[in-house]
Amino acid sequence: MSLIPGFGMVRGMALTLRRFFEPKATIRYPEVKADIPPKFRGRLQLLYDEYGTLKCETCFQCAQACPIECIDMGGMDTKGRFHVHWGPPETYGERREESALRRSGRPVPDPAYTHFEGLDIRALDGILESFDHDPAHMLPILEATQAAYGYLPVAALKHISQVTGAWYATIYGTASFYGHLRFEPPSQAEQAAAMAARRPADADFMAGLGASLAGRPGGDA
């Protein structure tokens, strides 16, 4: 405080008046954008390598390391690439990646991971026996299994993996590669369509075919 009462206030007033004419600190946002330092990590974005492909390998290490779970994996984009999205996943409509769902403890809507029903494996054992448990004949085995059960149940795939020694992932990959193999039982409509497609065929021919193929792989049990 100064000796003369009120002089300090006058000095303050002089200071504000000087600031009145000084250049302003405001950044006029829409016209002028503040420069963002190169190291700024306020925004997540995937990098591209020099060939123009995404560097992300979808290893989920970033999402698993993130302590507050702000990083998460989104679904595929139109070109089949993964992209990371940020923010609460509830705001995104994409199908979430299975491992992300598993990590968050939510049910995975993929039949390969859901709890599967038990299966009568005697037919399957017969098929496997006929192929000598050889994983090299995986496609015929799977075709025969689908012919036997109408589709490829998860339990059957697990059993094939166990018996042949092939990795489940390989079997699943093979099965999911071919379009004519399916993981779900055909719906009522599909069955009806299939029946309608078969109707012109001669029933006797079908019966004969069935008899001739009886006990062989691909046969209609």
Binding site: M1, S2, P5, G6, F7, G8, M9, R11, G12, L15, T16, R19, A25, A34, P37, P38, K39, F40, R41, G42, A65, P67, I68
Partner: protein
């Protein structure tokens, strides 16, 4: 002031179509349960001519979401009851369920004004648990960025304190100062507020050109600019008359209330963790521990402004003594310290900020206790505020400089 007595459902005054079964327009600060302690029973019993007033959690000048129930006699505060917990996150528990690296970003938002100090003490504690030697360059970078953050925090304190005393301008000037520092730290750490910069065994990223050029630019005019800002308040008769003798606490009282940091030093105790229990490279640096003897709000304010100058001194020395070398110690990706316990204290802008960590040999801390100075300082509010006026409640609170993120944890 009591509610007009009504019985049965009443039409609301706002909308006559709405029937209210009780007067919701009246929010009495009395808790809805019977008093649990003698103190509560005594506090919520009104004497002659007294009234209770809720200040917060939504109030223009509470610092964060603090609710204070004031017992008033006219304008005079007879008694008060702080109600905490509106910002409780359970950080200690979150830390116990995160691995050692993740703890750093969990504790970041505790004192969001000065995040680097929240990271610093757990990092030192974990380094003690792991028995790591931090490279000297990393230590210097830590001190450098920490002191910058201290200046940012103290500059903001100046603005808030003046705002609570009714000044409009200082808050914006101090925000300009803070913003320059924060942009600088964003260039260094990558974030403006929750830096997440310190790592166990070093720091995340070396000094870069952007940071150094901003720092040099700022250092060339920082002292002059801050001095100029201070003339607005330090010589202002109204400000000095209001702050002097406001919320006085003596040395014995401050020690009894476990005060640390500037609030303790304002009562004359030269206790600074940087000098009393040196950590990092502070023993090699030359700086003073300013003290004042008045113990009032003005002393606390002036002391913090003095600390800004000391921090600028430290930054200057850091820049001159900065060694070359690595910035991270060699550490495995997954940290599994041997079972044991470690304690680390640092001097934050608000006082002693410390962490006590227990390891059980897994990759997560078994127990992590965070000692936050804001919470400790807030308990002395009852002593400081009695027989003051309403106008001063917020100013006294501001002079203690609590951050509710740290109080509620």
């Amino acid at each position: 002031m009591t509610a007009p007595s009504r019985t049965g459902p009443q039409p609301s005054a706002d909308d006559p179509r709405v029937m209210l079964d009780r007067d919701i327009g009246v929010f009495e600060p009395v808790p809805p349960y019977p008093p649990r302690t003698e103190r509560e029973a005594e506090f919520y019993t009104l004497g002659d001519g007294q009234m209770l007033l809720n200040m917060g959690p939504q109030h223009p000048s509470t610092h964060g979401v603090l609710r204070v129930v004031l017992k008033l006699d006219g304008e005079k505060v007879v008694d008060l009851d702080p109600v905490l917990g509106y910002l409780h996150r359970g950080v200690e528990k979150l830390c116990e369920n995160a691995d050692y690296h993740q703890v750093i970003s969990q504790v970041d938002p505790l004192e969001y004004i000065s995040s680097l100090f929240c990271e610093w003490s757990p990092v030192i504690a974990f380094e003690k648990l792991l028995d790591v030697d931090v490279p000297r360059r990393a230590e210097y970078i830590r001190v450098l960025s920490g002191e910058l953050n201290r200046i940012a925090s103290h500059a903001l304190f100046m603005g808030w304190f003046a705002l609570d005393l009714g000044g409009l301008t200082p808050i914006l000037w101090s925000f300009i100062e803070r913003d320059e520092i924060v942009e600088m730290l964003a260039a260094l750490t990558g974030q403006r507020m929750l830096f997440n910069y310190f790592r166990i065994g070093g720091v995340n990223g070396d000094l870069n050109h952007e940071f150094m050029s901003r720092l040099g630019d700022w250092m060339s005019r920082a002292t002059k600019q801050i001095e100029s800002n201070l003339t607005l308040l330090n010589q202002n008769e109204i400000f000095v008359r209001r702050a002097r003798g406001l919320g006085v606490i003596d040395t014995a009282g401050a020690l009894r209330m476990c005060m640390t940091g500037p609030n303790l030093r304002a009562t004359g105790v030269p206790f600074d963790v940087r000098r009393a229990h040196p950590y990092s490279v502070y023993p090699e640096l030359d700086f003073d521990v300013p003290t004042r003897t008045e113990g009032d709000s003005l002393a606390r304010y002036l002391l913090r402004m003095e600390e800004i100058k000391q921090s600028i001194r430290i930054i200057d020395q850091c820049l001159h003594q900065m060694p070359d070398g690595p910035i991270m110690a060699k550490l495995p990706r997954l940290l599994r310290p041997r079972p044991g316990r470690a304690y680390a204290a640092i001097e934050g802008p608000r006082g002693q900020y410390s962490t006590y960590a227990i390891s059980d040999g897994t990759d997560q801390p078994f127990r992590m206790r965070i000692h936050d100075p804001s919470f400790i300082h807030l308990q002395s509010v009852g002593v400081l505020m009695q027989n003051n006026l309403i106008a001063d409640t917020m100013a006294i609170m501001a002079s203690l400089d609590p951050v509710m993120g740290g109080v509620d944890k």
